[in-house]
């Protein structure tokens, strides 16, 4: 009998410890970010007060993600959900609805002036892809927009966690300052290259905002999304265009099939410039584990390839 009582007491004690730990963990705000870049920005703004769960992880493609029940469970128990918006995550709306999540949803790209595809598309040169006037969702490829993202996320966090509002404000400003500094660096890097040399090709059209913000011309064989399949006519137009317009470098991306771009590079005689990170960060040990690192990686590689052709 005594033994049983002892065991019971022991269990009760363990249970209390467990409950205590859960309570201390609960203090952290549980935030769901739809993909890795948003997750990183949220981590920077939220700091220690938030626990960020990223649905589409490193190297994942947020265009064609299929959520699992575990994802729905995570969303249901979240305090805040952060999405990119601009039609990036078509699967998110359904996931939020089915999970029964009732809390606020922050649209990180709110207030950003959306681009409609790329300039090439408007001029009608755009090969292959479907020609609907689709909004380009990859707004984070302009660091000025990245600062708007940080603002929106900071405000969203303050709404669900008013106690930390002043802290979020400070971290948001600090992070925005870092992004502004990086933005300056990117501009000086690109301005060291004469404009005609600032022409590169990537495997899917993820860099429209970067192109517009920093005066780079970017071509791609696929449409805005990674889902469309290229046509022979499209690829041919692209190769002709590379030859005629003197594209300086061809890049592959971490979320696309590299074979097609490699083929185009070989055919047109333009060198491969390496791997760019467009829609997802790399794993922590890779070259682009954070939003800032990703931008540095991409710009360094683009500029290096453009310099070579000078």
């Amino acid at each position: 009998m005594l033994v049983i009582t002892r065991i019971f007491v022991l269990f009760m004690a363990l249970f209390m410890v467990g409950a205590g730990m859960a309570a201390s963990a609960e203090k952290k705000l549980k935030v769901i970010a739809s993909f890795s870049i948003l997750g990183d920005i949220t981590n920077n703004v939220g700091g220690d007060r938030v626990e960020v769960i990223t649905l589409v992880g490193p190297n994942g493609d947020a265009h064609v993600f299929e959520p699992t029940p575990a994802d729905a469970k995570a969303v249901a128990s979240a305090d805040l959900v952060i999405v990119n918006g601009l039609g990036m995550e078509g699967w998110m709306e359904r996931l939020i609805k089915t999970s029964g999540y009732k809390g606020p949803v922050v649209v990180a790209a709110q207030g950003i002036k959306p681009l409609e595809g790329t300039e090439e598309e408007k001029e009608g040169h755009k090969p292959g892809a479907k020609h609907e006037h689709k909004i380009d969702p990859h707004a984070w490829q302009n660091l000025a927009n990245g600062q708007i993202y940080a603002d929106n996320i900071g405000k969203g966090l303050s709404v669900v966690d008013p106690a930390g509002a002043s802290i979020y404000k400070a971290t948001t400003e600090a992070y925005k300052a870092k992004l502004a500094e990086l933005d300056k660096w990117v501009k000086t890097e690109f301005s060291s290259i004469p404009k005609p040399q600032r022409r590169v090709l990537t495997s899917h059209d993820a860099f429209g905002y970067l192109a517009a913000a920093y005066g780079v011309t970017i071509l791609s064989p696929m449409g805005l999304s990674t889902e469309s399949e290229p046509s022979a006519g499209g690829v041919a137009t692209l190769i002709k265009q590379i030859r005629k317009e003197k594209i300086t470098a061809v890049f592959i991306e971490n979320v696309s099939d590299p074979r097609l771009v490699e083929q185009i590079s070989k055919e047109s005689g333009v060198k491969l410039g390496g791997e760019l990170y467009s829609d997802a960060l790399s794993k922590p040990e890779g070259p682009a584990p954070t939003y800032i690192d990703m931008f540095k990686n991409n710009v360094t590689k683009m500029v290096a390839a453009m310099r070579k052709s000078l």
Partner: protein, 294 residues
């Protein structure tokens, strides 16, 4: 512009100007050479849907290859061949030694295999464009792919030449083959190996879904143009090559995705054959009927 240069631009220039078009065309030709005869034998053996089943069965092997070493040609190809062969052998064995017929045992095996493939793909968590790999793109066929496809069609043609007689007998009169001491089961398994090899070759170029198209559509069409196994195979190869060529031209001039263009061209050939073919088509039967009536 004269007519000649117009025709040249329409039919030849795309292949003269672009390496990727030549690669794609050669890949189609090589695939046609292997898939044509194999498809015809599938039709004759009344196993047309087995090709479809096997093409799905390749998925878990490709997925494992992809998980182990990324987008490596050899890992995915070997994985695909291994998975396809496993399904073909187990399903074939079940059909030979139990009361279940071939179609049912193949359906059972390929469904299991397909589910396993989807499971493995999902376990990875990140879904980095495996879909692109599964759909394949003939425009991105590189030297290694070409060598693989050409090797597989050469092996297919040599093997078929060696066991042709036994295979044909096995098709039409398996009882006779057994009575004269022929190894029917062995022939059948060798043939299934060839089917898997050709589907894996097609998967590199056209993706698993489209690969069966280039195997079955020309084979089914050839039934309307020839009456003997060898001439049917020849017709199937011709139709498959034509489909590849015309499909690529369509994809080039009309800006259509290349894989579906090729298969739909083959589909058009099939519909044409069903209506106007020389033997047993709607038109020839009608003409025959009128002739007899008059």
């Amino acid at each position: 512009m004269t007519l000649m240069t117009y025709l040249f631009d329409l039919f030849l220039a795309p292949f003269q100007d672009f390496i990727f078009m030549r690669h794609a065309l050669i890949a189609c030709m090589a695939l046609a050479l292997g898939c044509g005869p194999v498809g015809v034998l599938l039709v004759l053996k009344r196993m047309s849907l087995v090709g479809d089943a096997l093409s799905h069965a390749v998925l878990p092997g490709v997925a494992i290859g992809f998980l182990v070493s990324g987008l490596s040609l050899y890992a995915m190809t070997l994985g695909g061949i291994a998975a396809g062969l496993a399904v073909a052998l187990v399903a074939g064995t079940v059909a030979r030694f139990t009361l279940l017929k071939e179609d049912a045992s193949f359906a059972a095996m390929y469904l299991m295999s397909l589910a396993m493939g989807v499971l493995i793909v999902s376990l990875r968590g990140s879904n980095i464009d495996l879909i692109h790999v599964l759909f394949g793109t003939i425009l991105a066929v590189d030297d290694a792919d070409l060598i693989l496809v050409a090797t597989i069609s050469s092996v297919t043609l040599f093997t078929l030449a060696l066991i042709y007689r036994a295979l044909i007998v096995e098709c039409f009169d398996p009882g006779y083959l057994r009575s004269v001491g022929g190894r029917g089961a062995a022939m059948h398994f060798i043939f299934l190996v060839l089917v898997v090899l050709n589907l894996v070759a097609g998967f590199r170029a056209l993706g698993t879904l489209m690969a069966v198209g280039l195997m079955m559509l020309p084979a089914a069409s050839s039934r309307f143009w020839a009456t003997q196994a060898w001439s049917m195979a020849l017709a199937a190869v011709g139709i498959a090559m034509l489909s590849g060529y015309v499909g690529l031209l369509l994809s080039y001039h009309a800006n259509l995705p290349s894989g579906p263009s090729i298969i739909l061209t083959a589909g058009f050939c099939y519909i044409f054959s069903v209506i106007f073919g020389a033997h047993g088509s709607i038109y020839s039967r009608r003409r025959l009927g009128l002739h007899l009536g008059g």
